[in-house]
């Protein structure tokens, strides 16, 4: 008797769930929005963002757009910064997601695209000019699913005061990884002689700090190829720096939860490869006193060899896509917003708050270097304006799994738990079974 009640309940629930999952067009996220009207009526469209009080970029975009289009209001909904994708997947699954959402990590783009949770915005993409970088990343089989508004790149941050104190020459427009390693060692020795305990460089625990550069710069790099020999020189160099004491070892960094902000900001290291987002953080921390006051600059990423081409580095775009469950009369407004975020006006607004926009032009560079405190030396300007930035990973259904295997290899190799060969071999065998 009991069992049949349970059975009855479950069948009913299953049916309702399946229906839910298929339908899901009753978004109704903001009943306050004055939908229903014609196209010239005021419209409110919602956008998902995170940590709004410390991440002003969403509101900056929304305000700048509203100024141009007084009829359209973009309302930003707050999500959790670290669990953004978990919350978004839940909301999309339940049909309660906002009209538009930011693709926080390129790695998760495939999830949304493959799951049919992004509207085709090829028409918007086609109307943008070629100065908008990073569009390719959101293209699958000739269709574009999102528009990037920001394009981060990795540089090497360096502490000019420590370079001067150590008497080591600052990097130039092109430098190789070997020169970088040599400088790190020279800095460490010279700084130790002055009584400072600062290291030559700092490498954070993320797998990108090694693999991101290797994937972008190695001629035969392809993480979906299943062969990772090309990572070996990058790992050997990093381990050598660690063993020689020119950078803190991985085990100490991970067990002491060291943060890159405090390592560079309180002058524990003279150099640090890091993404462009750190410029704004460092400025804010120097202002608040959390970071020391010292002269710093950004140099382009070191290269395998200097060929005279633009320096190659890596970095992912951040884009915005449209939820296909959006009301039909709001679609036009959402697409307009997307074409706005890829424009020069939006880029200028973003640059003036320290964001590296996807759209690049002289006016944008000018806006960026107009911020107080941003280093305005020639090398920093060169590093900001001249680079060939490749996405960290290709978009594919296998990327997440392969990335996972390579992440295991990273922690195994850097912690000294396995040799470079063994670590990469384990990743290869796992990737092969995933790809096969």
């Amino acid at each position: 008797m009991k069992r049949s009640i349970v059975g009855g309940l479950s069948v009913a629930a299953l049916v309702s769930l399946t229906l839910t999952a298929c339908g899901g067009d009753d978004t109704g996220t903001d009943p306050a929005a004055g939908g229903g009207g014609g196209s010239d009526e005021p419209v409110t469209i919602s956008l998902a963002g995170w940590s709004l009080s410390t991440t002003p970029e969403f509101q900056v975009l929304a305000d700048a757009f509203h100024e141009q289009n007084p009829d359209v209001t973009v309302e930003v909904n707050e999500y959790d910064a670290t669990n953004y994708d978990t919350q978004m997947i839940a909301d999309l699954a339940a049909g309660s997601a906002p009209d538009m959402y930011v693709l926080k990590n390129l790695l998760n783009f495939f999830t949304y695209q493959d799951g049919g949770q992004l509207m085709d915005v090829s028409d918007v993409a086609g109307s943008l000019d070629e100065n908008t970088n990073g569009l390719d990343a959101y293209e699958v089989d000739g269709t574009t699913y999102a528009v990037p508004y920001r394009q981060d790149s990795w540089y090497v941050y360096y502490n000019k005061d420590l370079f001067t104190a150590a008497g080591v020459e600052e990097p130039g427009e092109c430098w190789t990884w070997d020169e970088y390693a040599q400088k790190a060692k020279d800095l460490t020795t010279a700084l130790a002689a002055t009584g400072s305990d600062a290291k030559g460089t700092y490498q954070h625990t993320w797998q990108s700090t090694v693999q991101g550069f290797a994937n972008a710069q190695s001629p035969d790099a392809d993480i979906l190829g299943g062969e990772y020999d090309y990572l070996a020189p990058y790992y050997e160099r990093s381990l050598d720096l660690q063993d020689s004491g020119a950078q803190i070892d991985y085990g100490t960094v991970s067990t002491n939860s060291l943060t890159y902000q405090s390592q560079f900001g309180t002058q524990k290291a003279a150099m640090m490869p890091m993404g462009s987002w750190y410029v704004a953080t460092l400025l804010a921390q120097q202002e608040s006193g959390d970071a020391d006051t010292f002269a710093w600059g950004i140099a382009p990423a070191p290269q395998l060899e200097c060929t005279g081409d633009d320096p190659v580095t890596f970095g992912d775009p951040t884009g915005i896509g449209i939820n296909p469950a959006i009301d039909e009369d709001e679609q036009a407004a959402a697409k307009e917003f997307l074409s706005f975020i890829g424009s020069e006006e939006a880029a200028q607004a973003l640059a003036s708050i320290g964001i590296t926009p996807a759209y690049s032009s002289d006016a944008v560079t000018e806006a960026y270097f107009g911020i107080e405190g941003v280093p305005t030396d020639e090398l920093s300007k060169y590093a900001f304006g001249t680079h060939d930035t490749r996405p960290e990973n290709p978009v594919s259904e296998h990327t997440a799994a392969v990335q996972g295997a390579l992440g295991d290899a990273h922690s195994a190799i850097m912690s000294g738990s396995s040799s470079v060969e063994d670590g990469l071999a384990a990743a290869e065998s796992e990737a092969t079974s995933e790809l096969g």
């Binding site: 009991k2 309702s16 769930l17 910064a81 978990t86 699954a93 900001g265």
Partner: protein, 306 residues
Amino acid sequence: MTTTSANAQAVTRGKALGGASGGPVRERRAPRRPVSTVGRVLGYLVLVVAAAAVLLPFFWMVTSSLKTNNAVFTIPIQWLPEDARWQNYLEIWRKSDMGTWIKNTMLLSAVITALQLFTGSFAAYGFSKVRFPGRDVLFLVYVGTIAVPWQAYMIPQFILMSKLGLSNTLWAIVALQAFSAFGVFLMKQFYETIPGELSEAARVDGLTEYGIYRRIMLPLSVPALASLALLTFVFVWNDYLGPLIYLRSPELWTIQIGLKSFIGQYNAEYALIMTGSVLSVLPIAIIFLLGQRYFIQGIATSGMKG
């Protein structure tokens, strides 16, 4: 209720002794045995050292809450701040919405604990003292759901709750936690220890099953209820993933989700994060201190010594 309780206790003990003595057993204290002072001091010493080891991370959390941000994570670990920054405790109230978070969490913890205590102990009585067909299978189903990892079914559950209109309300968390199988299981196991003769005698006296539950079982199960209440309270207080999925509006946030989002926003403000963590533990500590005294009542001191 107190009288019933005393009677019930008396009955238990009477029965346990073989039912010979009829009157209430009042004298529970056994004659004291002399314990060597050296042993006692040594025992305390061990306990104090162990307590210090156990409290070490908490100690670090407190001292870190008084440091500057970039002095929190250092090599080697720094146990004491260079000079204490008490203003961190003011600043967190200014920068975060701590008041709202604590209020929401208090409310949720109290409501859920009350519901869990009632429905859990009630259902447990059905499972342990009333025999009916399918009972054991149903009970196994209850325990079985505990074995399924929540991460795997949280999306289907979220879809269901959204359809019921519960998501993004505090009710979602109540619904999620108040009917847990854990409480039923805990209470059932406890009821098994209460001799059947006791309810039997009560039945002869004309008490209904509901009466037995209320007048005999509840008063006798105070230690179990206390531990269920404490564990539920702490669980709700510290739950992170549930509120993360269900509570989106900042005015509904609980302390854990608030703190984590604070970490996300000010991800370099480590000292303030520790300040918040200390504040979030304090209410629990107080409740535990108050609640733990329920674990001394029925026990005789001499019984366990030696």
